[in-house]
Structures are given as C-alpha cells and as structure tokens.
Subunit: 440 residues, 3 copies
C-alpha cells in the first residue's frame, strides 16, 4: 500500500515530475529499429514520458529523435521532408539535423544569424538489439549505454516485439515482478491435448498441475527480494518432493525492465515498459538465447501471439485482443481449460493490468499479501531513487553497463544448494549468478 501522495509520485513521469526525472537518467527503448527501415525514409511520430516526439533516420543512417513540434510555429515535423542530413519542416522549410541544429531557414534573409540561435529539442539515440534507444536526461548525466546480453548476440539469436499497453507503466511493471500470479492468471487446467488446446497456453504449465485449485493442493511459496547493482531480484521458492526447492528468480532492472525466468539453457525473455504518458505505455519484449539461434518452437512462441509476445495492429501496435473486445475472452474455455479463458500469457496480463481502478491504480486502498514482496520492493526502490534525485543524489544503478548482463532462471534443485552458488558455478551460468546479486 502506498499513500496517495507516493502513488502520485510513482505514477507520473511527464516533464518536471520526480519519477520522470528518474526515468530520464536511463537509456530507454523508444521504437523498433524496423519502424525506420532506411535512410531518408518516413519519420515516425510517437510519445515518450509525456513528450510528443518525432524520429527519423537521416542520410547517414543514424537516427534522430526531436521534439515533434518545429521550434518556429509548432507545426509537426512528422509532416517534414527527411532529406540530406536533416528533417525539413513542411510549413516553411526550416531544417534540423539529428542533434537539433538548424541547417536551413530558407525564407529568412540569406545572411541571417537567426539560424544559429534556434535549436530543436533533440535527444541522443542508440540503435541496439533491433531497437532505437533514447536518452532524455541532462547531457552531463548521460550514463554509458547498458550492454544487455540480448543486444549483443547475433540477430538469429533474438526476436523483439512491441505493443501498446493502455494503462500506467507501473501496473505492467508490478505484474512483471509478481511471481505469484503465474500460477493463477496463466494457469492451465488440463493436460495439453494437441487437438483442443491453443498454442501458447502450454507455455507456463511447467508442473503437471491439473486442478482448479482444490484446497491444500497448491504449493505455497516463499517470496524474497535482494537488492542488486541493477535494481533488485524478486525470488519465489517452493518446497518440492525429494528434498528439493523450486526457485523462480525475476530481476527488476532500472528503470522499468525485467527478465522473465526460464529454465537453465532455455531462451530468456527481457521486458520493458516505457511510459507514453501517465495512461499509456510502450511494452517491448525481447526473447534471446545466449549461445545459439532461436529454434523453431521458440520462434513460434514469439510470433504465434500466445506467449508474452502478442499479435498487434501493425500501425498502432494495439494488441488484437484488447479491452474493447474483452480480450476475446471465451467463458467456456475459462470453465474447462484455462484459468481465464483468455488466449495467451500477455493478453491475460493485459486484461488484469489495464483496469486496476482504470488506468491508474489507487494504491492507497489495496490489500497486499506476503506474495507481494517483490512489488513492495520495486515500489520502494523507485520511490527512494526518485526522492533522492530531488535532493541531488544520482541513482547509483546507472553507472555500470556490465551490471545489466543479467539472465534469470527457474529451476528445481536440492535444498542444500545455495542458488547463488549454483548459478555462479560455471559458464554460461555466470550471468544467472548476477541475477541473484552475486559478483561475477
């Protein structure tokens, strides 16, 4: 539970807000690189942190991100001509390069110095992992670019998708660090029957648990958190037969990224939720394997729309199953086959996340349980860093790009084993150790 004032603080990310200032200290993903396929191509208008922006790939192939409005009289640069190293406004021909410098004011007097005085608001960009990234904070505070493992592997080892999510970013982020919901929201009720099940619904059914939650049959879990140099790790542990523990580790990486735990040597999945404004966000999802190309089943999982990746309208990125069509819920399927009757892990998440008191949850009226420890830890960390920043204390987590070389795991191991040691015992599991807060 947050008081109403902290809830305001943690959910608002527009210009001038404390949480907006914290987001602006990190590199954040802005677009799929494929939205800007070629030099001098069509610009893209989009929103980020309450600002209206336009992105374009200039003649050299580098990407510029400018405030959408032309500094002159605020026509949208989206209508502009992308040509010869800059974006030229359609209204009067003022032209800006990707750094915001004005290259031309063709209707002003030839010798006018005005061109040197007017700048477009421009943000630095990077292209990595199939995404365009942007840094929107103070220039002298710009951190090194984070080397997420999935941005460093070969293109055939990675698949990245984007969606529009119609709620405040925090409702998604809380879902991502909330290990407890997986056994409910994403639960399958029957053993997969190839003739009747839908692709994607099998994914989370790692245990052969066919019940509709009969009393006592559900494994009770313990929930732990551990702060790290990239954010924190939320952990769930359950007692298994044969003197084993089942572990599920979810790294929360600042400012709003997570990694969904997978089995050792399985493909990993990274998520990001980036505010458009306080009521909408871009969700990015990257699935990758550190050591080999993604195989056919993994690609099917990404492109089939049934897992955490989701089918979207190609122009707006709105998921095809959405609030307007009740996420295509099938109430018969809900009775017999899946906990929700909604197809696909991401669609299930969207259904609950996009309406928690509407688009902004009233966290002063909720009732948290012991399962919510990861959520509580995430909120506390974000609030502490935002309040520190107001006092002039920079967030320490932006400093070390290697801190972001994180994976995550879920595994059943002997109770005698310390998971930190387990995942630190060899390569390539070293990255997993990082997920637990261990040093390399």
């Amino acid at each position: 539970m947050l008081n109403a004032s902290d809830n305001e603080l943690i959910t608002r990310t527009g210009p001038g807000t404390p949480m907006g200032a914290l987001f602006r200290r990190f590199w954040i993903p802005a677009l799929l690189a494929s939205e800007l396929p070629k030099p001098d191509g069509v610009p893209v208008a989009f929103g980020l942190l309450g600002e209206k922006l336009v992105a374009f790939r200039d003649s050299t192939g580098q990407v510029g991100v400018l405030e959408a409005r032309c500094p002159h009289r605020h026509a949208s640069l989206f209508w502009g001509r992308n040509e010869e190293g800059g974006l030229r406004c359609a209204y009067h021909g003022w032209k800006f390069d990707r750094a915001g410098a004005c290259l031309d004011m063709p209707a002003e007097p030839v010798d006018s110095p005005y061109k040197d005085a007017v700048k477009a608001v421009a943000y630095e960009t990077r292209e990595a992992g199939g995404l365009i990234w942007v840094y929107m904070g103070p220039k002298d505070k710009r951190p090194e670019f984070p080397d997420f493992e999935w941005t460093l592997v070969g293109e055939d080892q990675r698949l990245v998708t984007k969606r529009l999510q119609l709620c405040n970013y925090l409702q998604n982020l809380e879902g991502e660090v909330d290990t407890a919901h997986v056994n409910f929201l994403h639960r399958e009720l029957r053993s997969p029957d190839p003739s009747t099940t839908v692709p994607g619904l099998q994914r989370e059914s790692r245990k052969p648990d066919q019940s509709i939650l009969p009393p006592g049959n559900l494994a009770r879990k313990q929930f732990l958190i551990s702060e790290t140099d990239f954010g924190l790790v939320a952990m769930a542990r359950s007692e298994e037969p044969d003197d084993e523990y089942y572990w599920r580790m979810t790294p929360f990486i600042l400012p709003s990224f997570t990694i969904i735990p997978s089995g050792i040597d399985e493909a990993n999945t990274w998520t990001a939720i980036v505010p458009i404004d306080d009521h909408r966000a871009w969700g990015f999802t990257a699935t990758w394997h550190h050591a080999r190309p993604l195989d056919e089943a993994e690609v099917e999982n990404v492109t089939g729309g049934g897992g955490v990746h989701v089918h979207v309208d190609p122009e707006t990125f709105l998921p095809l199953a959405n609030k307007a069509n009740h996420y295509l819920i099938d109430r018969d399927l809900q009775v017999s086959q899946s906990f929700t009757g909604i197809f696909g892990v991401r669609n299930q998440d969207l259904a609950v996340q996009e309406d928690q008191d509407g688009t902004i949850c009233r966290r002063d009226e909720e009732h948290l349980g012991v399962t919510d420890r990861g959520i509580v830890g995430t909120r506390r960390l974000l609030l502490k860093l935002a309040k520190d920043l107001q006092k002039g204390i920079d967030p320490p987590q932006v400093a070390h790009p290697r801190a972001f070389r994180v994976r995550s795991v879920t595994a059943t191991v002997p109770r005698s084993l310390d998971p930190v040691e387990l995942f630190a015992s060899g390569q390539p599991q070293a990255a997993d150790a990082q997920a637990l807060g261990a040093a390399y």
Copy 2:
C-alpha cells in the same frame, strides 16, 4: 427553476453526495435477471450510483453484487471464475462469496488469518419481477423490500425491459411525471391508417385530435399534485363535454420510479431510472396486468419497440435509435403524421431528454409554466429528503412496503365524482385509490 447549488445537489448521486445518500436508502433495480441466466455463469460488470460493480449468480443460484475491483490489487473481478459459491479473481485467485467474505487466498500461507480480515465490498440483493435489485445503503437502515404489484403477479402477466439512457437520471424522471408533454411530444397528427402508420405511434392517441395544434383547439388542463406515503401523485384534469372531467394520474414513487397512467382495466406500466453515473442511467420499464396474462396486443406493444419499451442493442442496452443517428428522425413523417417524426414513445422521450443543455440541464436558467407543477413537486420532495438526510432525518417513505402497491389511471368521469372516491370504490381499484393518496 432551481438555483445552481440545488441543481448540483439534486443531480449528483455518487458516493458521498447527499442525493446519492438518499438513493442508497432504497432498493433499486440493477439488472435484468436474465443477464445472469444460470448458477456459476458469466459475471456482469456494470455501474450504479457512480460505483463500478460486478454481479454474479453463485452456485446456489443467489446473486451477489460486489465492488468490481478485487480488494487485493484492484484487478476487475469481471475476469474472475464464478465457481463453488464465490467469484475467484483471475489475477491471484482470491475468492469472495456474495456477502463479500473471502473464502480463499491460495497463494498466502496456509494458516494465514489475513483471509478473515479482508472483505470485498458487497451489497445485498433481491430477485423480483424479473429484475435483480440491490440495496447500497447502511445495513442498519435497510428497508423492507417493496412489494410492487408487478413483481408479485405471474410471469405471463408481466414484461420487463431495460435501456441505457445517456443523460442524468433527473431529465428522465422529470419527463415521466410531466403529464403535459404527452399531448405534444407523443402526438399523432392523423387518424391511424393501417397501411401507412407505424406500430406504437397510435398508443397515446386516445382522443381523435387530428389537428396540428390550431389556436384554441387544444384542451387546456389543470395540474395538481398530492404528497403520499410513497412519494407524490402528479395529476392533470381537463374539462370534457357532457359535464365530465378527463383525469390523468402519475404516481412518483421514491426514489425515481413512476407509473404511467392507463385506462381502468388496461395494463399498467412502471418505470425506473437509476443513475449509472451523473451522465448516464439505466431505464427499466415493466408492463403488467394485475388480473390476467398480457394479451397479444399488449405484448406487441412491449416487444415492438414503439411504445415506452424500446429496441436496444442486446449487449450494451443502447437503444437502436439514439443520439448518434438522430433517433432515426423522419422529417417527412414529422410534417404529416407525428409531432416529432421519431418512431416510438420512448425514442421521442430520449430525443428531448438526452440533450437539455447536454446531459445535465441548467435548471437555474429554465422558464417553468403551470404545466410543470408535477416536476416542481418532484424536485422539492427529492431536495427536502436529501437535505433532511444530511441532518440525520430518515426518509419516511421507505418504511411501508405496502405503500408501493400502486397503480395509476387515466379516465373520463362525471365532474361530480371525486377521483379519490371513484378509484377507492372497489377492488381492484383500491390500488388506484392509493395512487391518489387515499388510505386503503
């Protein structure tokens, strides 16, 4: 005319408002029973008095109405599983019964007492007359359930429909107690010609008045009101030939119900308007005969969409003729056949009611006439009771369920007859007498 402050007070019914407090002292209709057709079936999400609610029929067949948001982290219980005596949230499996008690928190520790501490907001319900009713007020103030005659008769003696009305509830309620508008808004201009008229337009044409209101030809009426133990009765009386009076009596039953006057021994029609929020309301309409099954013509009138019942979209209950399509007005028909050119009594009402300064009428700028006595009386009564309630004085009208056994009449009788005596002279007219404020 109301001053702006009284207009605010009378139109706002959300949590914490004085008029909302008054509404919450009465049993109000919430849903058609047919929206919840079977035990453990699909829940229904809906709004009432500014609150977001979810209704479900539990395993025993009884109906629960809960605040839509789960007390845990405010996911909508609409996505929940309706199973084994309660509604289970899709997010983490918390389960609540129809009284709001938490039956299960499957991810919390097995011995946790937390389950007993967390309650869902739950409202008491009743099922009567084909409707689900709800009481949203203080438990110790709950009145007896009102025994409206139409809820007590056999199913073949009654037909009930529901519509979404896109304005403040009061604009509809004022229309229902406004006897004067019937001769204008619902006027037919020509004698019914079976080959050209549309079903439903004939209903209100009780007098063979074919004129387009030539000067002096319209019967001037007198308008009277009388307070009763259920609210008040608005009466219109006009002088008829042969030393007779034509009477039209409209009971207003608290908090927002009326009965449309019909001829003696004709079917009666009860209406209710229940706020969803301050700009939308549910309209319920029940037509019944106290002594016999509805006949074919009466059923046609209810199901044909041309009377006070109206054809609606089955999912949203939005009338098919609505503001977006200009209520399908036919301007040629308006010239030659009906006063409005709009088909159906209810559609005619909706056209004028859904735009009186938009969804909330500015009653500080209106100009009332002598015909508006019923409206003035209704407003005064509502304001007095709401203000009394703020001072701790309970509305007296909730006390006696038999007070609601009201019918209404329209009839032409000798001027020497006192209508109170007339309608009190025998059974089943006793109920009519009640409509005039007489004792049983």
Copy 3:
C-alpha cells in the same frame, strides 16, 4: 511570440471573453444558404463562438437563428416543428419566431401573459453570397452589413464551400496571412506532367522553380504590413530579373477574413474562419470573378478538391482527407513531386494547422522570423481591438461597409512602380488599390 496570457485572450471566443466580444461586433458567416433549402424545412443545429444554435428558414423564407435550447426546459429546438412562421418545440409545443418572440404556449392557460414574458435568444441574420450571416453582438452596436464584392455579383460568378477545421480559428487565420509558407508547404517539385500530376497541385506553381530548395536558389522576400480601414494588408515583395518586383498582397479583413492574392484579372478567393468553440472552426471559401462567370477551369478548381476548396463529408463538413487518415499523405509523392506529399492546397494547410501543439498553439514558446510580420501584425491588431473593447472603445473597422470591397493581387511589375498607384490606376483594378489601403 505572445505571452501566455495574451495567447489565452486571443484564442478564446466563447460568451464573456474579450475576443468573443470582438467577434460579436461583426457580421460573421454561419451556414451555407443551401443547408436551409426551403421555407418550413428541416432546421440545422450548429455551434458558433461557443454557443449552441439552431437555424431555420421560416414560412416567409427568412432565416432565424436561435439558441438551440428552448427557454422552457432546454430541450433542443432542433427536434422542433418548423411551421407557420416559427419553430415549435417538440417537447411541449412552445413556438418561437425568428426574432425570438414566443408565438404560442399551447398547454398554458389561454389567457396567460407568460407568453409575452418569455423570449428565445435570437440573433439577426442576413443571406448574401450563398451564405447565412449572423450578428451576435449588442443590438445597438450592430454594424451595417459588409458588401463584400463576391456577395454582390451574379451567382454564376461565384462558388462558395464550407469545411470543418479541427483547431482554434487563429491557427488557420495565421496561415492565411502567412505569405511565406506558400513557397514551401504548397510547393511543387517538378514541371507539371499531365500523365502523372494530380489536379490542384499546379495551382500555386506560378514560377518554374523545379528545385528542392538548393541553397541560394530561393528568392528571398521582404515582408511588409499596412493597416487599413478593414484590418490590414500583409505584403511580400521579391526581387525579380529585369528590374522588376514580384508582389503578393494579402488583405486581412476583421474579424477573421482574408483574400488570397491572385493575378490581375484572375478569379479572387475570400476565406473566413469562424470559431465553433475554442478547438474547432468553420472554414468558408468563396471564389469569384468580378466581371464574368467563372470558367470551366475555375469551377474545376473549386469543385475538384485540390485547391483551397476541399472535398468534405456532406453531413459533417469534415474534409475527406483529415487528421484521422493523415491527410492521405503519400510519402513517395512527397519525395518526387510535391513538398508535402499531400494532395491539395487546403489539405496541406490543414495538416500543419490542425496540430500546432494540438488544437491551440503555445505562442509563448515559438520562434518567429522576419517572414512572420503579417502574423505579428494580425495578432497585434486583434489584441489591441479586444483590449480596447474591454475599455469601452468600439472597433473602428466595423463602420464602413464599402471598406470591405477588397480584392487582392499578386503580380510582377517594374520596380519603379508603386503598387498602390499601380492597382489604383484604373478599373477594375480600383478594388485592388483598396487592398493596399488606398482610397477609391
């Protein structure tokens, strides 16, 4: 640049605002006359200066414009019966003539004096040039009706269209007086090739300039303004070979009208932008020739949708190319053929004008250039007159209807010629002289 307070003042035109008061001192166009085709026909509901209005053509053929809400209980008179010299409300039959007098209250007592006490808010109207005009200001301040030349010529000499523009009126008005944008926003990139170009795109390409703005090749212009007795004239002058000047003169006529400059003896085009509310406006465009019927090419230009007239939805007047469909921009066409890739001069204007910080431009954050002199002059004049009016000083420009007999010109003439003298030298150029502030 305006400070935020002046920007509020200049953009708000609802009842009670200073700029609204200024607009209300002028005759403004409200509807196409063709929207009210015949006596006792269907009324039209529409908005103007933040007021909801209804227009009707009464039995005599004259047009009434009333506040849309009936004075009684605020039902919309749009549903009313237009019959026998007045508009009769559909709710209770109250009837008003075009002056707002109440002709009938059929349900009130026959001898009631109430009818004489209740007036509908009514505005005076005129019909001229194919438009309905309205005066919404104080009756004792009503100016003479302006005799715009195009309202006085024969019907075959004139074509008038209307569109809905989805932004504050000022964003359009600024565009109309902004001569500088013509060479950019409306620029053609290639010589017209009949097999590939689209009609309408050729119109503004008066110079055979095929370049995509190579440095130095664009003629730099000088921008001048001159106040007149109808408003002001914005002028652009560029140096041409052979010791000539190219002149382009744009009259701004109070409160929000302009004339687009054309070559001598070409058809002229008048524009008006009239606020519906602060975020939407009606655009009217009239093309006429003072001396002869419009020829086939001119008619094609008006009706083809490619010039400053535009194809609209016949019911809503929303242009077919609009914000929702990105003005049908063709990015390939933008590279090779036109500066914007948007078809039609008006559509090009709409694209930039309908999003300058959204519907209301933040003029406190813009960066004006020397080309914006006409815009600066227009704003200053509007602000001065609105502020004067608050002090009780009437706008002088409303006094003389002959002041509105303006045309405009664009022409290349010897540098030695004074354009005022040039256009004053003979008939029919006398009107052009007026455009420059010269006396007849």
